[in-house]
């Protein structure tokens, strides 16, 4: 009788496909994963503690560095939390600009998330370049408006830093003309590819009950077939004024998450078009509040959440009446979506781990904080 034994393998922390410094302690039986233990914290930089030593406004650029793909979305959630805490009104036009920025962020995040997932499957670089292409143009738009491509720091309490520059809307319209062709092409490039199908279909299934019990959100949850979207469940900002659909998956495997992301890009494009229709009517007020340097919210606490491209991003703030938050907590979607990784990987092959990790779409800056 041949004696077999389980083997422990470290994947990471410096593995090229771990999306940052992230270690997976994998127990394998041959090629099959028996257990997986995620080990993170390598990128821990004390974000929440630093935030408690900073004033409210000073934290805004730090939120950019949480999920550095979606700095606009992070800014939005944080600005909402402080506005809720301090009771600051946001002018309508600023709300539209915020929605516009966050939806552009969603497109670029999903495009690059798909690209990275294909990268993890071993199709090195070429599909990723396809995913990154329109992202570049969106980043140019961000740079135009906010001054930076990634660390936008564009939102302020009660508005945004500055109004859109005059060349922004024409460029955005041009980009919108290109987007459907781009999304279709990305789908055509990947969707029917036999290799991708073999690597994605039936792999990393996350049953809806398990997803719910872990508190998973975002495309991962919707891929499992649960139509939960914060934009619909608890419409914030001006999201109740737009028509858009919520795509869900059927099985909850890697392929479903991929398809949900592709479809969400289309829905985001729909929202942006509606924003452009309604934006001229939105009356501004003072959308760039320069004077709110010293926010001093009354004693209390507030939680604000948005549907960030990665899931439900929430900021919980407790104020003791001073200019600094007494408690500052981030509900990071990447972190919570990562927790069921062991359940998703158990029973599949070692080579699937990285693909499953790629399909969750994590950013270690947000996981470790």
């Amino acid at each position: 009788m041949l004696q077999t034994q389980e083997l422990q393998v470290n994947i990471g922390p410096q593995h090229p496909s771990t999306h940052g410094v992230f270690r997976m302690l994998v127990t394998v039986d041959g090629e099959t994963v028996v257990d997986l233990k995620p080990v993170f914290g390598y990128l821990h930089r004390n974000h929440e503690q630093i935030a408690e030593a900073n004033s409210y406004l000073q934290n805004m650029p730090y939120t950019d560095r949480l999920d550095y793909f979606n700095s606009m979305a992070n800014n939005h959630a944080y600005a909402m939390a402080v506005e809720r805490l301090a009771g600051i009104e946001v002018p309508e036009r600023a709300e539209y600009i915020r929605v516009l920025m966050v939806e552009l962020t969603r497109i670029l995040n999903h495009a690059s998330a798909v690209g990275f997932m294909i990268n993890d499957m071993g199709a090195w670089q070429t599909p990723l370049a396809f995913g990154m292409r329109e992202r570049e143009k969106i980043l140019d738009l961000f740079e135009m408006a906010s001054g930076a491509r990634l660390m936008c720091n564009y939102f302020r309490f009660g508005g945004v830093v500055r109004d859109l520059p005059p060349e922004f809307i024409p460029n955005l319209r041009e980009l919108l003309r290109a987007l459907p062709a781009y999304i279709d092409e990305l789908e055509r490039l990947l969707r029917d590819n036999e290799i991708l199908l073999q690597r994605a279909i039936g792999i990393g299934i996350l049953p809806p009950e398990v997803a719910l019990s872990y508190g998973v959100s975002g495309p991962v949850l919707r891929g499992s077939g649960i139509p939960y979207d914060v934009r619909k469940a608890e419409p914030y900002s001006v999201y109740d004024r737009f028509d858009f659909d919520v795509p869900i998956g059927k099985v909850g495997d890697v392929y479903d998450r991929f398809l949900v992301r592709i479809e969400e890009m289309r829905q985001s494009k729909r929202i942006i078009e509606q924003v452009l229709e309604q934006l001229p009517d939105a009356k501004g007020g003072h959308i760039n509040p320069k004077a709110r340097q010293n926010v001093r919210p009354p004693v209390g606490d507030a939680y604000a959440r948005i549907e960030s491209p990665k899931g439900e991003l929430g900021f919980y703030l407790v104020s003791d009446g001073s200019t600094k938050p007494y408690r500052y907590k981030v509900r990071a979607p990447s972190f919570i979506n990562l927790t069921p990784l062991a359940d998703m990987c158990r029973g599949y092959k070692v080579a699937d781990i990285v693909v499953i990790l790629g399909s969750i779409d994590i950013v270690m800056g947000e996981v470790d904080r």
């Binding site: 406004l57 660390m151 720091n153 055509r188 590819n193 979207d229 109740d240 659909d245 320069k290």
Partner: protein, 373 residues
């Protein structure tokens, strides 16, 4: 697009289920379709296409050869501004940027009037640690005087780490530079920034708050002008000997009158071999005007000192006179584009005249109060 198993009604939209189509047999057709996409892009990649509405063609930039188009709002590292024409720094050391800076990389000290020791609205030392700066742009946003702005320069790599602790001398840029990189953003704040600068300059003793790049030039130019004034006055004093009588008491004098008077006084003084008046004034008032024109280092220093003293004295001497506004508009056709190269001609000339006048008034006073010293 079947109905959701959860049957949830959502406002303004539907729940749609993605189409998987995973049962279809493809026999490599999907691979070929993907290859076709890649092939098309490869073919198109030889064409340049910068339009946002096209997904084909190359839109990348060959960076070192071709510089990227940088939008106006772009922010990289903070810089300080100074007025090209007068050399006055816009910063008043109000500490707003130091306070707001999230990584706390801005450090500054306030300038003090060397004569009285009181703080003045100017900055003595200003340090930004570029290596820890996070380019958030808050400093530029909160600055009430529009003195700190975000630069577009991004080629900052260096093998010398200490060079990334940047001092005021390296931070200072002329206003015209910023107006070139961000025309509309500067146009928005130009009026108020220059107005505030004027107000602050009034409260600064003369040479404090001048861009170090220009201090030497300004001092040299002043010494030159002072020498010219002396020369002219000596020539004038040769003819009318009278005006050396008494200093004006409360009477308002135009700078020209003052200058003439001063020169007369000084001429008289030098005639008396008044070299012993004060050491500071010895240098710019020599018996023969020639040596003052050559900006020797000591003359330079002396000019600075004298300028500070003169500004103080001006307050006393011309108490009744309306506070002399510092000229901001250039008197002659000095262009603001190449500030570093052009000598700061007109305003310092103006100033030098004023300065000489004040100095003369001082000397006259001293003379009057008994030729002691």
């Amino acid at each position: 697009m079947t109905a959701s198993p959860f049957e949830i009604e959502i406002p303004r939209g539907r729940v749609i289920e993605v189409q998987r189509d995973d049962t279809r047999v493809r026999w490599g057709g999907g691979l070929l379709r993907g290859m076709a996409v890649v092939w098309k892009h490869w073919k198109e990649s030889f064409k340049l296409n910068r339009s946002y509405s096209q997904i084909h063609g190359t839109f990348t930039i060959e960076y070192p050869e071709e510089q990227p188009r940088i939008p106006e709002a772009y922010r990289n590292m903070p810089i300080l501004l100074y007025d090209d024409e007068t050399g006055h720094e816009l910063c008043t050391s109000c500490f707003q940027c130091e306070r707001i800076c999230p990584p706390q990389v801005i450090h500054m000290t306030q300038a003090k009037d060397p004569a009285t020791g009181k703080p003045v609205p100017a900055v003595a030392e200003f340090i930004i640690e570029y290596d820890a700066c996070m380019s958030c742009g808050f400093c530029a946003e909160v600055c009430p005087f529009d003195a700190i702005k975000m630069d577009h320069e991004f080629e900052l790599s260096t093998d010398d780490h200490t060079r990334l602790t940047v001092h005021k001398e390296q931070l200072l840029r002329p206003i015209s530079y910023y107006a070139k990189i961000a025309p509309t953003m500067w146009a928005e704040v130009r009026e108020s920034a220059l107005k505030k600068l004027q107000g602050n300059v009034r409260r600064r003793p003369d040479v404090i708050g001048l861009a170090p790049q220009l201090t030497e030039k300004i001092a040299a130019r002043r010494a030159e002008l002072a020498a010219q004034a002396v020369q002219a006055a000596q020539a004038a004093a040769a003819a009318p000997a009278a005006p050396a009588a008494a200093p004006a008491e409360g009477r308002k004098l135009t700078p020209e009158e003052k200058a003439a008077k001063l020169a007369a006084i000084r001429a008289a003084k030098t005639a008396q071999a008044g070299e012993s008046a004060t050491p500071a004034e010895a240098a710019p008032a020599p018996p023969s005007p020639a040596p003052a024109g050559e900006a020797a280092p000591s003359a330079d220093k002396a000019a600075k000192l004298a300028a500070i003293r003169a500004a103080n004295a001006a307050k006393k001497a011309a108490a009744g006179e309306a506070p002399a506004t510092l000229p901001v508009a250039p008197a002659d056709g000095m262009a603001g584009d190449t500030p570093a190269d052009a000598p700061p001609a007109a305003p310092p000339a103006d100033k030098a005249a004023r300065l000489a006048a004040i100095r003369a008034a001082n000397a006259a006073k001293k003379q009057q109060s008994g030729d002691g010293s």
